[in-house]
C-alpha cells in the first residue's frame, strides 16, 4: 500500500478461539505495583 504501513499482523479477533488459557504472568507482579499494564505482557501459549 502506498499510504499505509501496517506494523502488526496478529489480529485480536483471532485470539478469541484459542485464548484464555491463563498461563501468562499476573501483570502486577512484574514491575508495576500501582498501575495496571496488561498490553505489554507476553502470551505464554505458543500453540
Amino acid at each position: 500500500m502506498k499510504h499505509v504501513v501496517t506494523l502488526n499482523t496478529k489480529k485480536l479477533q483471532n485470539t478469541v478461539q484459542k485464548g484464555g488459557c491463563g498461563e501468562c504472568q499476573t501483570s502486577c507482579q512484574s514491575a508495576c505495583k500501582t498501575s495496571c499494564t496488561v498490553g505489554n505482557q507476553s502470551c505464554e501459549n505458543k500453540r
Binding site: H3, T26, S27, S35, N40
Partner: protein, 456 residues
C-alpha cells in the same frame, strides 16, 4: 473504533478492536479521520484543495482493502464473550506475600505507611508462608506457572523465611508438577552478596526500588532518621543488575509532584547503566502535597514524549534501555480474554499479610472491608471475589469508549477505589497518563520499524 494521533513526526492510526497499528501519510491521516466520523463527503472539496483527487481515491481504496482484511473499522465483538469468560471457574495463580510489615526506610509516599499497612509491625512466619504456598498449589487447578512475590514492607527484614519458603516451594513444585516463579521487591538496604547469589539462583525477577536522581530519591526515600538512602543502594543495585546480565530485573521508581521532570530521572537511571527501568506515577490522596494534579498533565505528557524520543535515539546503541511502561507487544501480546479481564486482583492474584489474611491485592491490605479470608480457612468472602471477577472493561462505563481498553484492561482496581470509592470507577489522571504511554509506546514501534526498513 479508531484512535488517531501524531507523535514525534509519525501519523498513527490504531484500529482499536483488531489492535492493528497503521503508520500513515498526511493524506491518509486526514481521509481516515473523515471516513471515521462520517464527514468525508462533506469535506471532500476541502480535502481536494489540499491533495490531488487521484490520491484521495487511492486512499479510499486502501481503506476498503484494510477493512476487508479486518484491519480497520473492526467491530467490538467481545462483550458477550468476556462476560461468558468471566463466568468460568477461576483459579489462583499468583500471591503477593507480605513477608514483612516493617521497613528500614520511611518513604514519604508509601501506601503501606512505612511498611505497617495501617496495622502493627509484623513478620510472616514460615508456617503462614507455607500454608499460603499450599493454598496456592491446591487452588491453581491446571495452571503450571505459579507466581509468588516476596513483598513488604521490606522483605529482606525477614530473609530467612524467604529462603525457607523458596526451598519449600522447590520441593513441592516437583510433587505437584508446578513451576514457581519467585520474585523479590527490595529497597536494597540489606542487599549483600548472599542475597544476590540467592536472588540470581531463585528469583525469576527482582524489583529494585530507586526513584532516580540522588536529590529526588533522597527526598522521598529517607531512612527513619532522615538520611538519604541513594548512596548506599546504588552500587549494590548496579552490582546485582550486572550479575544478572542486565536481565530479569527492574529498577523501579515513583515520580511525584516533586519531580514533574521525571524523564530526567529515567535518563539518570539509564546513564547509571541500568537497562531495565520502570518509573511510574505516584498514587496519593489529593490532599498530599506530592500528589499529581490534573493541571500537571500537559507537562507530564511532554516528559513522556521527550523520553520516548530519547529512547528512539538510543535504540541500537550502547546507551539503549527498556522502559517498562513503553513496552508493547504488537505481535505476541496477550489474547483478548486476558486484555479484557484485567490484572486478576481478587481472583487470580491475592495478597497475604504476615498473619495470613487474604486481600484482593497489596494495595487493599489493611482495608478490612476487603478482607477475603485467610490461608488456613481459605476464601470466606466469595461475594467480594465475584465482584472483582466481574469487574472488566465492559463493566466500567468510562472504559467502554476508551481506545486504551485493550492495553490497560480497565486499570488498577485499587486506584479506582481510592479515587472514586468504587472498583468500577476510573482514576482520571492515571487514565490520561496511561493513554499517553500507549501512544508513546506505539510511536517507538513505528520509529523502530522505519529504522529497520531503512537498514534493509
Amino acid at each position: 473504533m479508531i484512535h488517531q494521533f501524531k507523535n514525534n513526526g509519525y501519523n498513527i492510526v490504531l484500529d482499536v478492536n483488531s489492535g492493528a497499528v497503521h503508520v500513515v501519510d498526511e493524506l491518509m491521516y486526514d481521509v481516515i479521520g473523515c471516513v471515521a466520523d462520517g464527514t468525508f463527503e462533506a469535506k471532500r472539496s476541502e480535502l481536494e484543495t489540499k491533495y490531488p483527487a487521484e490520491e484521495i481515491k487511492e486512499a479510499l481504496e486502501e481503506i476498503e482493502e484494510l477493512k476487508a482484511n479486518g484491519d480497520l473499522f473492526t467491530k467490538d465483538v467481545y462483550e458477550n464473550y468476556i462476560f461468558d469468560f468471566a463466568k468460568r471457574p477461576t483459579v489462583v495463580k499468583a500471591l503477593c506475600l507480605h513477608i514483612a510489615h516493617d521497613c528500614n526506610l520511611a518513604c514519604k509516599y508509601c501506601f503501606a505507611e512505612e511498611g505497617e499497612y495501617h496495622g502493627r509491625r509484623a513478620l510472616m512466619s514460615f508456617e503462614v508462608g507455607k500454608a499460603a504456598l499450599d493454598f496456592l498449589i491446591a487452588n491453581s487447578g491446571e495452571r503450571r506457572n505459579l507466581e509468588v512475590d516476596f513483598f513488604g514492607g521490606e522483605p529482606l527484614l525477614n530473609f530467612d523465611v524467604v529462603k525457607q519458603l523458596v526451598a519449600y516451594g522447590r520441593e513441592q513444585e516437583k510433587i505437584h508438577n508446578k513451576n514457581f516463579r519467585f520474585t523479590l521487591t527490595t529497597n536494597g538496604v540489606l542487599l549483600d552478596d548472599d542475597v544476590m547469589e540467592f536472588a540470581n539462583r531463585e528469583m525469576a525477577n527482582v524489583v529494585l526500588s530507586i526513584d532516580g536522581r540522588k536529590e529526588i530519591h533522597d527526598l522521598m526515600r529517607p531512612f527513619r532518621k532522615g538520611a538519604g538512602s541513594y548512596d548506599l543502594i546504588v552500587p549494590k543495585f548496579k552490582k546485582l543488575a550486572d550479575s544478572r546480565n542486565q536481565e530479569r530485573y527492574y529498577v523501579r521508581g515513583t515520580f511525584t509532584r516533586n519531580n514533574l521532570d521525571f524523564a530526567e530521572d529515567v535518563k539518570h537511571l539509564a546513564d547509571l547503566g541500568f537497562k531495565q527501568i520502570s518509573v511510574e506515577p505516584v498514587v496519593a490522596k489529593d490532599t498530599d502535597d506530592y500528589a499529581l494534579r490534573e493541571e500537571d498533565l500537559p507537562g507530564l505528557f511532554e516528559q513522556y514524549d521527550k523520553l520516548a524520543a530519547d529512547m528512539v535515539e538510543r535504540a541500537g546503541t550502547d546507551e539503549d534501555f527498556n522502559f517498562f511502561h513503553f513496552m508493547i507487544d504488537l505481535e505476541g501480546g496477550p489474547c483478548v480474554a486476558k486484555r479484557l479481564s484485567g490484572c486478576g486482583s481478587g481472583t487470580e492474584y491475592l495478597a497475604v499479610t504476615p498473619w495470613g489474611d487474604f486481600y484482593p491485592c497489596h494495595q487493599f491490605v489493611g482495608n478490612e472491608d476487603f478482607l477475603l479470608g485467610n490461608v488456613f480457612d481459605g476464601i470466606q468472602k466469595t461475594d467480594i471475589v465475584n465482584e472483582f471477577k466481574a469487574c472488566n472493561v465492559y463493566a466500567k462505563p468510562t472504559c467502554k469508549e476508551c481506545f486504551a481498553r485493550f492495553y490497560c484492561s480497565g486499570g488498577c482496581a485499587a486506584n479506582a477505589y481510592n479515587f472514586t470509592g468504587d472498583i468500577h470507577g476510573a482514576y482520571s489522571v492515571g487514565c490520561e497518563l496511561q493513554k499517553k504511554r500507549i501512544e508513546c509506546a506505539i510511536m517507538i514501534k513505528a520509529a523502530l520499524a522505519e529504522k529497520e526498513a531503512k537498514e534493509q
